[in-house]
């Protein structure tokens, strides 16, 4: 149980691929112009990560150490192909708007990183869980960044969600405020970098606050001073 908790915490927060490892920045920065794009790419990455981690974990005892990286890449590439063909078949509009960034999931270092660092050393269960949590962590960062940029850029949320989820999803579109002038900076790559920097800063602030609170709590318990309170 504690292993389950630790893996989840690592993937979602402490070792988040987007905010801490800073892996896979290329798709992270390039496609987060809208929530829909972010969700599409996040789900695709999650699926690939899950598949590759499971397979890598299953074959880990049979893969010669010297050629493990090419084999991992092959496994990842086949899953990317599967996901790409699926998206081409079922979510064609999104497939077109994500473009080159779907095949580029192959080069996402977060995936090969998990295969190498975790899946190749752990049995199936933990490997699958790690993939799920890392993928979710990445997806959440993508979604947050996508939401920030979409609201700032064009004042909407879930614009074009029907491309991913089917026609019913048109009702999801929320117009936060109406604007005739799109804030292009938020939609262009510089806006992604700025938004990413702000997100990382926010995470650091939260972590620091928590660390400070913990030391204060510890300090008040373990130290017994009569001269005054310890901060």
């Amino acid at each position: 149980m504690s292993q389950f908790k630790e893996i989840s915490l690592q993937g979602l927060w402490k070792n988040n691929p987007g905010l801490v490892q800073l892996l896979g920045l290329c798709p992270l920065l390039a496609v987060t112009g809208t929530v829909t794009n972010a969700l599409g790419l996040g789900l695709a990455t999650l699926l690939v990560l899950l598949g590759s981690n499971i397979v890598v974990s299953l074959v880990r005892l049979h893969v010669p150490d010297e050629i493990r990286i090419p084999i991992f890449v092959l496994i990842i590439a086949s899953f990317v192909t599967v996901v790409q063909l699926l998206m081409n078949a079922f979510t064609f509009g999104l497939y077109q708007s994500l473009g080159i960034f779907i095949p580029l999931i192959v080069t996402n270092c977060a995936i090969i990183g998990r295969a190498e660092a975790f899946a190749s050393k752990n049995p199936l269960g933990p490997a699958a869980l790690d993939a799920l949590m890392m993928g979710l962590g990445f997806l959440l960062v993508l979604l947050t960044l996508g939401a920030m940029r979409e609201v700032l850029g064009q004042g909407t949320l879930f614009d074009g969600a029907d491309l991913l989820l089917g026609d019913w999803a048109k009702v999801l579109r929320i117009e936060v405020f109406h604007s005739d002038n799109h804030f292009l900076l938020a939609m262009l790559p510089p806006g992604a970098f700025l938004g990413m920097g702000l997100l990382i800063a926010l995470k650091n602030v939260i972590d620091q606050r928590q660390a400070r609170r913990q030391t204060i709590e510890k300090g008040s318990i373990t130290r017994a001073r009569v001269t005054g309170s310890v901060q």
Binding site: N181, F183, L184, L185, A186, L188, P190, L194
Partner: protein, 355 residues
């Protein structure tokens, strides 16, 4: 990030940051006044908006960073940033444009890097580029000089225009952009570029009503006023003469060469020197003490680089003026320039003398 390269002996002066910044703002006043006279009162409204936004955002960030608010606010550096941005954007741009721009300049470009003295980029120019890239339509809506407009705008109209995009009597910005003969008037730099692209010669283009003598109507006087203010700053030793001189030379020399080569296809150096934001940028923007080079020789390189970049972007680029991009590009080169132009330490000999 700090690049502590400047070595002793340092220049000493009794002036505080506050006084320096005050002088910069004061010296810009004649230029601002002429801008209001020639291009309408919108610039005053923009100034008020920019200064209040700058103070608010500076106070907010200082409070968040738990720094003393009032002393930092009163060093007037935020004021100067706000003034420079407000006079750089079109006078009747919508109100949210200058608010977003100033807040970006103060919060993102200046305070997130650590406040005054730590920013790598000139805050006003970084914000200008941000606005130009984000809102190209609003950022290029310059009105023709007042003398060429169909309807003159009163100060009240200026308020209506900035806040509602219609003057109190109901004119829209695009209506006001039309000249008396019903043709849209662009800025002199734009007009000249379009005409040259359409196969006209420089002298043919200069016949148009937006031009007066060798430069744009109104722009010539505005530039002269900023030149005057800049001279005052140099006289008071608020700024060094090196950056403005090198900048103007860096712009004028290529302009002169091309003009001598074919005076029909490229405007005279005087046109470049007295058009657009040349004098404002040379004396007020490029001389920002934080983001400019700190060594004497470095300042010459820095200024010349800006001038050259401006010439290139003005002649071959598609933007209304080039100073914001040129200043930012030169800002990026400053650490390198400073590294290679370190002054000789007092008591040490120059390298070539040692050998």
């Amino acid at each position: 990030m700090s690049f502590k390269i400047a070595s002793s002996p340092h220049h000493h002066s009794q002036r505080s940051t506050q006084q320096l910044m005050q002088w910069v703002a004061l010296a810009a006043l004649p230029g601002i006044a002429l801008q209001a006279v020639f291009f309408g009162y919108g610039v005053i409204v923009q100034l008020l908006l920019a200064i209040s936004t700058a103070w608010l955002s500076e106070a907010l960030v200082l409070w968040l960073r738990k720094k003393p608010v009032l002393p930092r606010l009163l060093d007037h550096s935020a004021l100067v940033t706000a003034v420079l941005l407000a006079i750089s954007i079109p006078p009747y741009a919508p109100w949210w444009l200058i608010v977003i721009g100033t807040a970006f300049a103060i919060i993102m470009v200046k305070q997130l890097y650590g406040g005054l003295g730590n920013n790598l980029f000139n805050p006003a120019m970084a914000a200008y580029v941000m606005l130009l890239i984000s809102f190209p339509v609003q950022m290029t809506q310059w009105l023709p000089p007042v003398s060429l407009q169909q309807a003159a705008l009163s100060p009240l109209d200026a308020f209506c225009m900035v806040f509602m995009q219609y003057s109190c009597s109901g004119f829209s910005l695009s209506q006001l952009q039309l000249g008396i003969d019903g043709t849209t008037l662009a800025t002199p730099l734009d007009t000249l570029r379009q005409d040259l692209n359409n196969g006209l010669t420089v002298s043919e283009s200069l016949q148009r009503p937006v031009f007066f003598a060798f430069a744009g109507t109104g722009w010539l006087w505005v530039n002269l006023a900023y030149l005057l203010g800049g001279m005052l700053l140099i006289k008071l030793k608020v700024i060094s003469w090196r950056i403005p001189l090198a900048l103007l030379a860096g712009l004028a020399v290529p302009a002169l060469l091309f003009w001598l080569g074919s005076s029909g296809a490229s405007p005279s150096p005087l046109f470049h020197l007295f058009s657009g934001a040349t004098m404002l940028a040379a004396f007020f923007i490029a001389t920002d003490p934080v983001s400019a080079s700190t060594t004497d020789r470095g300042r010459l390189w820095y200024g010349a680089l800006i001038g050259l970049l401006v010439y290139i972007i003005r002649s071959y680029g598609g933007y209304p003026d080039a100073f914001a991009f040129a200043v930012l590009l030169a800002n990026m080169c400053v650490p390198l320039i400073d590294y290679y132009t370190r002054p000789r330490t007092y008591g040490h000999k120059a390298k070539r003398d040692v050998k």
